[in-house]
C-alpha cells in the first residue's frame, strides 16, 4: 500500500548536485533523479531491457525496429500521468529529444542521441525515431537511467542556453517515477514524497524519502551498517577488514553487482619523457623506449598478484580479472591467464628482453639505461595501496618505480592546460577505472582505435589513452559497425578485448569492480543493478515488518 | 661668579618642540602638544644648569630636543659653535660624541640583555676603532672612574642596585669624552641614601673632566646643591632663570616662589612655623595651554593682564631672567 512504510532514508557518499541527468554525468545525480524521472525502457540486473514508460520493447520481430535498422518506434504506456496530474504524451518524449540535442544546451547525454535524424510523435502514444544511418543498437535514446523523459510543460523555457539556469526545473523536475521532489538542497540533500499519480496505486511503499549526501564511503557505510540511521548507503567502497567488521554488527549487508567497471593499468606506448619538447611528449611521434618491447609489458602484468590486490583493496567489492570487458556474461572473454602471479616468469621475460641488472643495485638496466618507471594515479586510498603493492612486486623483479598521485579533479578534469590529466599521460604507467554506458561495449572498444590517441592538436581529448595502435583492431571495429547478429558481435567483442589485453598488454586489467552499496536489514526489495540506476526498482522497496 | 668671563658651550635659541595632535576622518592635524615652547638659554663651559619644574612641563623633551633625539619644530641649538639642529645625519653622528645623556630610570636605560662591558663598550664600537684589548682597557678605566668594580664587567644590569646602574649609565655617557651631558633626572628613581652617591660622582667627574651639565630634576634641593644656575620651567616655557643663589634666595616669579615654598624641610621646628604657598588646581594640558600667561590659572598673584597678554621673557636683573608681568616695569626701567 502506498505510503504505508513511512520514510526511506538513503545516504550517498556524494551528494546530488542536480536532479536533471541531462546536465550531469555524475552517478550521484543520476541515482537521485532516477527516483523521479523515468526513461522509456531500462536495464534489468542481468543487462536485458525492460519496458518502463513504453508499452513494450520494440524489436525487429514486433516491428518496432525497422528491417533496415533506420527507425525505431516506441509505443507508450497509456494512462501514465506526471506527478502534477497531467498526462504523459509522445510530445514530452519528442521534447526531451529536442532538449538534449539542442547544440547550445550542453547536454551531458548527447552521445545517447547520436546519429538521430529526427524524433516525431506519430500519435499521442507513439514516438518514432529515425536514424541517419542504420543502427546496430537502436536502444540508446530514452533508454536507461541516463536518458529519462522530461516534462515538456516544465522544461519548455529551458531549451538551449537556458538549460542550466532553469534552477527550479532542474532541482524539482516533474516526473513519472514513484517519487517527487519536495525540497532540494544542492550538494546536500534531496527530500521526496510519494508521487500521488504514480501508475501503480500500491507503490511506492514509502511515503517519503530523503537522499542525504555524506562525504565519504566510510561514514556512508557506517550510517547504514553500524548505526542504522539510514536504510541504503550508495557507494560504500571501504577496506575489506572494515567491511567484515561492519557486517559483524548485524544491522545490514553489502550488496554488489558487477558491470563493466575495470580497474586497470594502462601502459604508455609513447614516450612521456620530459626531455621531449612540449607538444611531442606522449604523442605517437615517439614510441615508448621501454614498452615498445611486449615482453616488458607482459612481465609487468605477470609480476602482479591480482587476487591479493583485490583481497587487500576491495574484498567483496571486486574480483580479479584479465578482461577489459568482463561483463555481461555473453561478452566476457574466458581469459584467465593473468590470474596467477608468476614472478620467475616475469624475471625471465625481462632477461630475455635484455634488461638485466649489470651493476648489482637490484635494478635492471639495458644500454646504460635503468628500468625505471613513473606510475601515476588519482588520489584515492585504495589506489595508493595498489600502487604500493605493485611497486613492491615490480621492485622484486628489478624495476624501479616512482609513484605519483594526482588530485582526481585534476587527473580526470580534462583541462588541456594541466600536465596531470590522465589523457595527457605524462607518465609510463597509470591506473584508473572505466566502464561504458549500457550493456553494449562497442563504442567503448572503439575508443582504442589509432586515430583516437590523444594529441595536442585536439586538446588531448582522445580516449585511446595508452595510444594503442593496431590496424587489425581498427579493421575489426569497422566490421563490427555493420554486424547486427548478436552472436557474431559477441565474438568480435571478445576478440577485441583479447587484442588489447592478452595479446598486446597495453591495458593491464586488474580487477572488475562491483557497484558496492550497503542495505539495512529492514529494507526489502533491493536488487542491485550494474547497468542502470541502483534505485531502478525503488518503487518496489519496502520496510520489513 | 659666572659672569661673562666664561665661554658659552651650549646656546639654545627659540627652541620649540610641538607634537602634533591629529583627529577627524582623515587624521588631520588639529593642534599641537606644545611640550617645549620657545625656550632660550645658554650654558657656559664647565657649569651646571639646573632645569626644574613639575612633571610634564617639558623638561625631558627639552633635554632630548637639545641633543636632537627629537626633531624640534623650531629653534637652534649650538653646541661648541656647531649647529646641532641643522646638521645632516652623517655630521650629526660625528657630533654625537660631544654630547651625551644620562637617563632618568637606570633600569630602563640599560639594555637588560647586554653585559656591563657591552653597554659601556657600545659607544666605543660605534665611534672608535679600538681593538678588543684597548676597548677592554678603556671600559675598565671608565668603570674605575665611576667607581664600579672591574669584576662586574660581565654582569647584567639586573644584578646591580639602582645606584650602581646609574653609574653604568654615566660610564656609558663618558665613554666618548663628551663635553656636554644632559642629565635627565638621574636621581629621581633612586633611593634617598643613594641619590647622594650619584650626585657626588657627577660633581667629581665635572671637576676632573671639566664637563658641562644640563641637570634636569624636579628635586629642588638637589638642584640647589649641584647647579650653578637654575632654570624653572612651567608648561613648556622657562619662567625664570637665574644663578642659584639669586633664585633660591629671591625668586621673582610667583611659580618659583610657590615651588620653593612647597618643598618640605626635614626640620620639625622650621616646618611648624613655615608658611607655604599652596597652589590650587592642576597643571593645564600642554595641548591646550591657557591664554595669556601659562601660569595664570594657578597664580596667587594673578592680574587681569595675565589672562590676556603673554608676559615677555626678559632679563630683569643681571643674569636673572623671568617671564612675569609683575616684573615688567622693573625690566623696562633697567632696559631704559
Amino acid at each position: 500500500e502506498r505510503g504505508a512504510d513511512g520514510e526511506l532514508k538513503i545516504i550517498q557518499s556524494q551528494a546530488a548536485s542536480t536532479m536533471n541527468q541531462y546536465l550531469s554525468s555524475g552517478t550521484k545525480d543520476i541515482n537521485a533523479s532516477s527516483m523521479v524521472s523515468e526513461p522509456l525502457a531500462s536495464y534489468k540486473p542481468d543487462g536485458t531491457l525492460m519496458a518502463r514508460l513504453a508499452a513494450e520493447i520494440p524489436t525487429l520481430e514486433n516491428g518496432g525496429v525497422s528491417a533496415d535498422g533506420k527507425t525505431i518506434t516506441w509505443k507508450l504506456l497509456p494512462g501514465v500521468k506526471w506527478s502534477d496530474g497531467t498526462d504523459f504524451t509522445a510530445d514530452d518524449v519528442v521534447f526531451t529529444g529536442q532538449y538534449c540535442m539542442d547544440p547550445a544546451g550542453g547536454c551531458a547525454q548527447l552521445s545517447k542521441f547520436e546519429g538521430i535524424e529526427k524524433i516525431e510523435a506519430v500519435d499521442p502514444l507513439t514516438v518514432k525515431i529515425t536514424f541517419l544511418k542504420p543502427k546496430t543498437n537502436p536502444y540508446s535514446a530514452f533508454v536507461g537511467a541516463l536518458a529519462p523523459i522530461l516534462q515538456k510543460a516544465q522544461f519548455e523555457k529551458c531549451l538551449g542556453a537556458n538549460a542550466s539556469s532553469c534552477t527550479e526545473a532542474n532541482f524539482k523536475p516533474i516526473g513519472t517515477g514513484p517519487f517527487m521532489v519536495t525540497d532540494f538542497k544542492t550538494n546536500d540533500v534531496a527530500v521526496f514524497e510519494a508521487n500521488p499519480h504514480y501508475r501503480d496505486p500500491a507503490k511506492p511503499a514509502f511515503a517519503r524519502a530523503t537522499l542525504k549526501g555524506g562525504n565519504d564511503a566510510m561514514s556512508t557505510a557506517r550510517a547504514v551498517m553500524e548505526t542504522a540511521e539510514y536504510d541504503y548507503g550508495w557507494n560504500t567502497q571501504i577496506e575489506p577488514e572494515v567491511q567484515a567488521q561492519m557486517i559483524a554488527a548485524g544491522k545490514g549487508k553489502f550488496v554488489t553487482a558487477y558491470g563493466g567497471l575495470v580497474e586497470r593499468l594502462e601502459l604508455n606506448m609513447t614516450d612521456p619523457s620530459s626531455a621531449l619538447p612540449e607538444g611531442e611528449r606522449s604523442t605517437v611521434k615517439h614510441p615508448h623506449p621501454i614498452f615498445s618491447d611486449i615482453r616488458v609489458r607482459q612481465a609487468l602484468s605477470m609480476a602482479i598478484d591480482r587476487s591479493l590486490l583485490v583481497e587487500i583493496g576491495y574484498g567483496e567489492a571486486a574480483r580479479p580479472t584479465c578482461n577489459l570487458v568482463p561483463a555481461p556474461e555473453m561478452f566476457a572473454s574466458d581469459n584467465t591467464g593473468c590470474l596467477t602471479q608468476d614472478v620467475e616468469g616475469a624475471k625471465k621475460l625481462l632477461d630475455e628482453a635484455g634488461w638485466t641488472d649489470t651493476d648489482g643495485d637490484g635494478i635492471r638496466d639495458k644500454d646504460g639505461k635503468k628500468l625505471s618507471l613513473v606510475f601515476q594515479t588519482s588520489v584515492n586510498p585504495i589506489r595508493q595501496n595498489f600502487q604500493a603493492m605493485i611497486k613492491q612486486w615490480w621492485n622484486d623483479v628489478g624495476i624501479e618505480v616512482e609513484l605519483k598521485q594526482i588530485d582526481p579533479s585534476v587527473f580526470f578534469g580534462g583541462d588541456a592546460g594541466s600536465p596531470d590529466t590522465f589523457q595527457k599521460f605524462y607518465a609510463d604507467v597509470q591506473m584508473f577505472a572505466n566502464e561504458w554506458d549500457g550493456t553494449d561495449p562497442q563504442a567503448y572498444l572503439a575508443q582504442l582505435t589509432c586515430e583516437k590517441a590523444p594529441k595536442p592538436e585536439d586538446q588531448w581529448q582522445g580516449e585511446n589513452i595508452p595510444r594503442f595502435c593496431n590496424p587489425d583492431y581498427d579493421a575489426l571495429i569497422k566490421e563490427m559497425l555493420t554486424t547486427a547478429d548478436a552472436g557474431a558481435r559477441a565474438e568480435q567483442i571478445k576478440k577485441l578485448n583479447d587484442m588489447v589485453t592478452k595479446d598486446a598488454m597495453v591495458t593491464v586489467p586488474l580487477a572488475n569492480r562491483a557497484r558496492f552499496s550497503a542495505v539495512s536489514n529492514t529494507l526489502l526489495g533491493v536488487e542491485m543493478n550494474a547497468w542502470d540506476s541502483e534505485y531502478w526498482n525503488v518503487a518496489d522497496w519496502s520496510r520489513a515488518k | 661668579m659666572f659672569d661673562g668671563g666664561k665661554r658659552p658651550l651650549v646656546e639654545v635659541e627659540g627652541l620649540k618642540m610641538y607634537f602634533p595632535i591629529t583627529a577627524g576622518l582623515f587624521r588631520a592635524k588639529v593642534g599641537d602638544v606644545k611640550a617645549v615652547d620657545d625656550v632660550t638659554f645658554t650654558i657656559f663651559e664647565g657649569e651646571t644648569l639646573g632645569l626644574v619644574g613639575e612633571s610634564g612641563c617639558g623638561k625631558s623633551t627639552c633635554g632630548r630636543a637639545v641633543l636632537r633625539l627629537y626633531e624640534p619644530t623650531a629653534g637652534s641649538v649650538l653646541i661648541d659653535g656647531e649647529d646641532v639642529l641643522a646638521a645632516p645625519p652623517g655630521e650629526l653622528r660625528a657630533l654625537r660624541p660631544k654630547m651625551q645623556m644620562v637617563f632618568q630610570d637606570p633600569q630602563a636605560s640599560l639594555n637588560p640583555r647586554m653585559t656591563v662591558a657591552g653597554i659601556i663598550g657600545e659607544p666605543l664600537d660605534e665611534h672608535t676603532t679600538l681593538n678588543r684589548a684597548q676597548k677592554l682597557a678603556r671600559i675598565y678605566e671608565l668603570m674605575d672612574k665611576v667607581g664600579l668594580n672591574r669584576d662586574f664587567a660581565n654582569r647584567y644590569p639586573h644584578e646591580f642596585s639602582g645606584g650602581q646602574r646609574q653609574r653604568i649609565g654615566i660610564a656609558r655617557a663618558l665613554a666618548l669624552n663628551p663635553r656636554f651631558i644632559v642629565c635627565d633626572e638621574p636621581i629621581a628613581a633612586l633611593d634617598v641614601s643613594i641619590q647622594a652617591q650619584v650626585v657626588n660622582l657627577l660633581e667629581e667627574l665635572q671637576d676632573s673632566l671639566g664637563l658641562t651639565y644640563l641637570f634636569i630634576s624636579h628635586d629642588l634641593s638637589m638642584v640647589r646643591h649641584i647647579a650653578d644656575r637654575v632654570a624653572v620651567m612651567y608648561l613648556g616655557r622657562i619662567v625664570e632663570l637665574a644663578s642659584r643663589d639669586a633664585l633660591y634666595e629671591a625668586p621673582l616669579h610667583p611659580y618659583t616662589q610657590a615651588l620653593l615654598s612647597a618643598v618640605p624641610e626635614p626640620d620639625p621646628n622650621a616646618e611648624t612655623t613655615r608658611q607655604r604657598i599652596i597652589l590650587k588646581g592642576d597643571v593645564p594640558s600642554p595641548a591646550n595651554p591657557p591664554k595669556g600667561c601659562n601660569f595664570c590659572t594657578r597664580c596667587p598673584k594673578v592680574m587681569d593682564l595675565c589672562r590676556r597678554v603673554e608676559p615677555e621673557y626678559r632679563e630683569v636683573a643681571p643674569g636673572h631672567f623671568t617671564a612675569c608681568h609683575l616684573h615688567n616695569q622693573t625690566a623696562g626701567q633697567t632696559a631704559a
Binding site: I11, A15, S17, T18, S24, S25, G26, P103, A104, G105, G106, C107, A108, Q109, L110, S111, A161, S164, S165, T167, N170, F171, D183, K185, T186, N187, D188, V189, V191, T210, K212, G213, G214, N215, D216, S219, R222, A223, E226, T227, E229, Y230, A249, S409, V410, G413, G414, D415, G417, S418, D458, Q459, Q461, E463 | A23, G24, L25, F26, R27
Partner: protein
Amino acid sequence: MFQYTMRRLLIAIPTLLIISLVIFLLLEAAPGDPLGEVPLTVPPEVKAKMRSALGLDAAWYVRYFLWLKQMFWIEPMHLIDTLFGTHLADDMQRVISFQSRQPVMDIIAQRMPQTLIVVGSAYVIGVLIAVPIGILSAYRQYSWFDNLGTFISMIGFSVPTFFTGVVLIVIFAVKLQWFPMVYDTTLQVTDWDSFTKQLRQMVMPVTVLSLFNAAQISRFMRSSMLDNLGQDYVRTARAKGLTERVVVLIHVLRNSLIPVVTVIALGVPSIFGGAIITEQVFKVNGLGQQLILAIHANDLPMVMTLTFIFAVLIVLFNLIADLLYGILDPRIRYD
C-alpha cells in the same frame, strides 16, 4: 568614536577591494576549469558555447568588474526586492554559481542556518566553558585544577578534529547509539520532539568544536586574569574589605574580559567560515563544505563570493573588536 568608526570603514573599502582582486586573480591563475565536470562526450563547440554562457570568454577584468557590479549593486537591490516586494533587480543577472547555476546568494542563504546553528552554538558554548575555567585556573595558579586545565586544553589544541569527531561517533553513535552521526539539515524545529531531535544531532559536532574553541579561549582568559590579579587595584579592592568573590568576579574579571572579549569578537567570523573538517565529519553540509566543493569544482563565483563575504566579516569584526575594546575600556578613546 563615530569618526574613528567612519575612518576605519573608509580604510576598509580599499582593503576589501584589494582582497577581492587578489582572490579573483588567484582563482584566475589557478589551473582548472569550471567545465571540468562536463562529460568528455560533449563536443568542444558546445563547450565553447557553455563557456560563453558562463561569461568565461570575456577578459578577466571585465569579469571582475561584472562581479563587482553584481555583488555590490544587483545583489543588494535583489535583497530590497525580496524584502519589500519591489522590482528593482528583475532583469538583472545575479551572481550565479557555475556548479549549480543557482544564485550564489541563495545557496549561501540555504546553508547559513546549519552553519550558524552548529558552529555558532559551539562557539558560544566554548566561550561559556572557557571563561570560568580560565578564571579558576588563574585564581588558583599552579593548582592541580590549573595544571589539569592546561593539560587538557593543550590536548584539545593538539588533537585534530577529524580524530575527536570520529572517536565521538564510534562511542556515542555506533556503540551507545545515543546520538545520530549524520546531521539532518532538513529538520524543522516545530515542536518539542523535533527540538530534542535537533539537540541530539547537535551534541557531537558542537562538542568537538566547542572543546577546540574552549581550549583556546580559556588560555587567553587565564593569562588575562593572571595579568590583572597582580595589579595594584586588586589590593585596593581587598583593602576596602570586599569579599574575594567581589574582588575576583567584579574587579578583576571586568578588566580581564577586555582583551578576551576582543579575542572572542575576532573569532566570530570563523563561525561563518564554517568548520570545514567538522562539517565534513558530521555531514553538516554548511558553508565550509560548500567552499571546499566549490574550490574543487572551480566554481569561481561561489568561491569568490564566499571568500569575499568572509573577508568582509573579518574586517568588520576586527573593527567591532576594536570598538568593543574602546567601550569596555574607558581609558581607550578613539578619535
